[in-house]
């Protein structure tokens, strides 16, 4: 059927290419916690049945598991989104001292512009902080090539290697030549007891600290001749003076298209840098610029070499790069007026992401809104509960933060009476448990609501300890939030069905008013996974609808204003879009006029 295509050429996303590289490099163990834009790496590795892979409960554990495999002489991979590396930083900082036995590669998928993240940190800085090498692929082919090279470097220098991608590498696709795509057999590395290398008590750690600097020296020399750095001459002969651009990662692609007049030094390894190569390149051009996505990571190192780097007014900091930004940059440094860029029409109704029709979180946020609670939030789909009309979340910091935040507010003498933390099931297992133990231990009184939708929904429905299934598709022990809560000493543990609005309200009211710590488990499967099983939809009887607007306060996308012409008035009847309705029935419960009733659900449009 596809005879014309040699099987070794495929269109792969960066994440898929990394998974293929892991297979080809003979990786034996891969561990991760899901996080956009990194999630598909492990999902694709799971397709290769001869790699052991797992969703670890969090990134710290994922890296620790990978370190264990490296101790044993196996090649291992840990993948995470940028903020995941914060969680995993503790083992990384010290494992850099110990060093890798089996090759260990950490993939950090950074998310400049925060497409699906709470910050846009540049993790190359964390690799430099830990004193480990950083590779930066510029497309899917380089993802495949560099991850394999990273294993060679990791074993040669006995160091973990960070492969840094950004959203436009992880989630863009290109043609990858997989070559022979044979799986490398396991090497002859194996565990050898050597406590001076692996037991980081101060005596040995001091020695390893020195040893690490020695490795870095050797890496600097290696970087000078690293085959994935390259210098490319200008591709046109426009006379703009000799412009030189040092670049890396996806920035290279934009430079290549928008600045054909420039000579390019494309770096494959951005730490440690090939200093001699950079000095020679700088000497060969009249004006030197650095174009990189994220912080001025390479630029600051080049400046520290005492080289002059031009500082154009067009800033490339903050947010991801794109062809438009590079066009403006190119125009400025070539002394041209930038091409005018067409702007979008401004008066088009927005289409924001919304909490799905039938989402179980809605029942909890509706009650929290009515209770006027102060709600410390967490990372997940339920961030959508912060917005109108639910408007029932006060903060989002990072994974697991809600529980400690709620405890701190309560202990601070904050005069709000009702303080709740809301956290998803996957997030609770990721980093909520320690916070909950802390609340109990320190005699806190806040209420923790675990929004248990039986999956990691935000990133596309991955399993976690509460689902009873592993990444490799095996059944396993199903962790129960209630048991964990009781296990850390919570006496008051209540389970509710968030579709039952009255009970949800009553339970939350009671728990929020109780002067002891409590856990409310709000349990309902994510509607995206069970929508097709809904037996009915809701329907509005327009003769009974009094246009009171109560159902609109649920913020359900299936509930629509019935008559567009009435929008100017403050009251309008509603109808329910049968295609969108998931039949949860929350709207029927809030309607005081019995205007909403069940109707049979049709199968398709």
């Amino acid at each position: 059927m596809s005879k014309a295509v040699p099987t070794n050429r495929k269109v792969l996303s960066g994440n898929e290419a990394i998974a293929h590289a892991a297979y080809a490099a003979g990786v034996q163990l891969a561990a991760a916690y899901p996080g956009t834009p990194s999630t598909e790496i492990l999902e694709n590795i799971a397709e290769f049945k001869d790699i052991y892979c797992e969703w670890s409960v969090n990134e710290k554990v994922a890296l620790e598991v990978a370190i264990g495999a490296s101790f044993a002489g196996a090649r291992a991979l840990a993948a995470m989104k940028h903020v995941g590396l914060n969680v995993a930083l503790d083992p990384l900082m010290t494992f850099a001292y110990i060093g890798a036995t089996g090759g260990l590669v950490i993939v950090s998928a950074d998310d400049p512009s925060m497409h699906s993240s709470q910050n846009e940190q540049d993790n190359r800085t964390l690799a430099k902080f830990a004193r480990i090498p950083v590779l930066e692929p510029a497309d899917s082919q380089e993802c495949f090539d560099m991850v394999r090279a990273a294993y060679e470097i990791s074993e040669q220098f006995e160091l973990p290697v960070l492969v840094r991608t950004t959203t436009r590498i992880s989630h863009s696709s290109g043609i990858v030549d997989l070559g022979t795509f044979e799986r490398r057999p396991r090497g002859d590395l194996h565990y050898k007891k050597d406590i001076a290398r692996t037991v980081m008590v101060p005596l040995f750690a001091r020695q390893r600290r020195t040893a690490l600097e020695g490795k870095l020296e050797k890496l600097r020399a290696f970087s000078q001749n690293f085959e994935m750095h390259r210098i490319e001459p200008p591709t046109n002969d426009r006379d703009t003076g000799r412009i030189g651009i040092i670049t890396s990662g996806v920035a290279y692609a934009y430079v290549k298209e928008e600045l054909p007049s420039a000579a390019i030094l494309k770096l494959g390894m951005s730490f440690p840098l090939p200093e001699r190569m950079i000095r020679e390149f700088a000497a060969s051009v009249d004006r030197l610029y650095v174009v990189e996505e994220g912080d001025a990571f390479i630029e600051e190192q080049v400046l520290a070499m005492g080289l002059r780097v031009e500082q154009p007014k067009t800033s490339l900091r903050i947010g991801e790069l794109n062809p438009d930004r590079l066009k403006r940059f190119a125009a400025e440094i070539e002394g041209r007026e930038p091409e005018p860029s067409p702007s979008p029409a401004t008066d088009i109704p927005a289409r924001p992401p919304v909490m799905c029709p039938g989402c179980a979180h809605r029942g909890v946020f509706y009650a929290l809104n009515r209770l006027k609670a102060t709600v410390l939030g967490d990372i997940g789909c339920y961030s959508l509960g912060a917005f109108e009309p639910l408007y029932a979340m006060d903060s989002i910091v990072c994974m697991g933060a809600s529980i400690g935040n709620a405890h701190g507010m309560q202990k601070s003498g904050y005069d709000g009476e009702r303080i709740a933390a809301v956290i998803g099931d996957s997030t609770f297992f990721h980093s909520g448990i320690t916070g909950l133990l802390n609340t109990v231990y320190n005699k806190g009184t806040s209420t923790v609501i675990v929004l248990d939708n039986r999956t990691t929904a935000m990133t596309g429905h991955q399993d976690h300890p509460g689902t009873g299934r592993t990444l490799m598709g095996e059944e396993t022990v199903e962790a129960r939030v209630e048991d964990v809560a009781r296990g850390v000493g919570v006496q008051r543990v209540v389970t509710i069905d968030p579709y039952d609005l009255e009970n949800t309200y009553n339970v939350l009211k009671e728990e929020l008013g109780t002067p002891e710590p409590s856990v409310v488990v709000s349990r309902r499967e994510c509607v995206l996974r069970c929508r097709d099983r809904a037996r009915c939809v809701m329907r509005v009887d327009e003769t009974l609808c009094k246009a009171c607007g109560a159902c609109l306060r649920l913020g359900c996308p299936a509930i629509e204003i019935a008559d567009q012409a009435q929008i100017d008035t403050r009251r309008h009847k509603v109808r329910i879009n049968p295609v969108l309705c998931a039949g949860c029935g929350m709207c029927r419960q809030v309607c005081r006029f019995e205007a909403i009733c069940e109707a049979p659900r049709k199968q398709s449009l």
Binding site: E339, S341, I561, H572, L605
Partner: protein
């Protein structure tokens, strides 16, 4: 870089845009071309607007298309077509599914649906083709094949042989939906206005 064809596919989460762009990439691969694709998902599954950009040529570097450099805009929904019309080159072509999906901002009464949408689309694009892809798909028995109807229309705007398209579809669509998808593709190719 003048040989590169830039295609932006836009619409609403759940309309099959990602499969359509995968098929397009596959066609490029089969044709021996270079291709880059970039997609925005993240929270798109939650009803937000979705965009996938595909660039096909002898050698393609950037996975993103500069504003105003899209040669063909394939919009699976009419409001999204207007939202992204500025991506087109002045003489670019807009293939627009004549279907309206109201965003929550409109359905909840916070914003007004532009009643002059068709006129505004005509003003914003020089070459506009409104395609009743939803009607065509429903006549074939499944609204979900709107994406293949749109691909059929797109295939007429491109140089690649029809057999490559069929081969790409065959390799990416699940066997039990293949016949329906190929029919939808064909319907998108044979549909003519008036």
């Amino acid at each position: 870089m003048t040989d590169i064809v830039n295609i932006s596919l836009v619409g609403v989460g759940g309309q099959g845009i990602l499969l359509a762009s995968d098929i397009l990439c596959r066609v490029a691969l089969l044709a021996g071309k270079d291709v880059k694709k970039s997609e925005v998902h993240g929270m798109a599954q939650r009803g937000g607007s979705v965009m996938s950009q595909v660039r096909i040529g002898e050698k393609v570097y950037s996975p993103l298309i500069a504003t105003g450099k899209t040669h063909i805009l394939v919009s699976f929904e009419k409001l999204e077509a207007l939202r992204y019309a500025h991506l087109l080159t002045p003489d670019g072509t807009a293939l627009v599914n004549d279907q309206e999906i109201k965003p929550i901002t409109v359905s909840s009464g916070q914003a007004d649906w532009p009643n002059d949408l068709n006129e505004r689309l005509r003003e914003a694009t020089r070459n506009l083709k409104l395609i009743p892809a939803l009607d065509i798909a429903q006549q074939l028995g499944d609204a979900r094949v709107v994406n293949l109807v749109m691909l059929g229309a797109l295939s007429l705007q491109m140089d690649h042989d029809e057999t490559l398209w069929r081969e790409a579809i065959t390799s990416l669509v699940k066997p039990r939906f293949l016949e329906l998808n190929l029919k939808a593709f064909e319907a998108g190719r044979t549909w003519r206005s008036e």
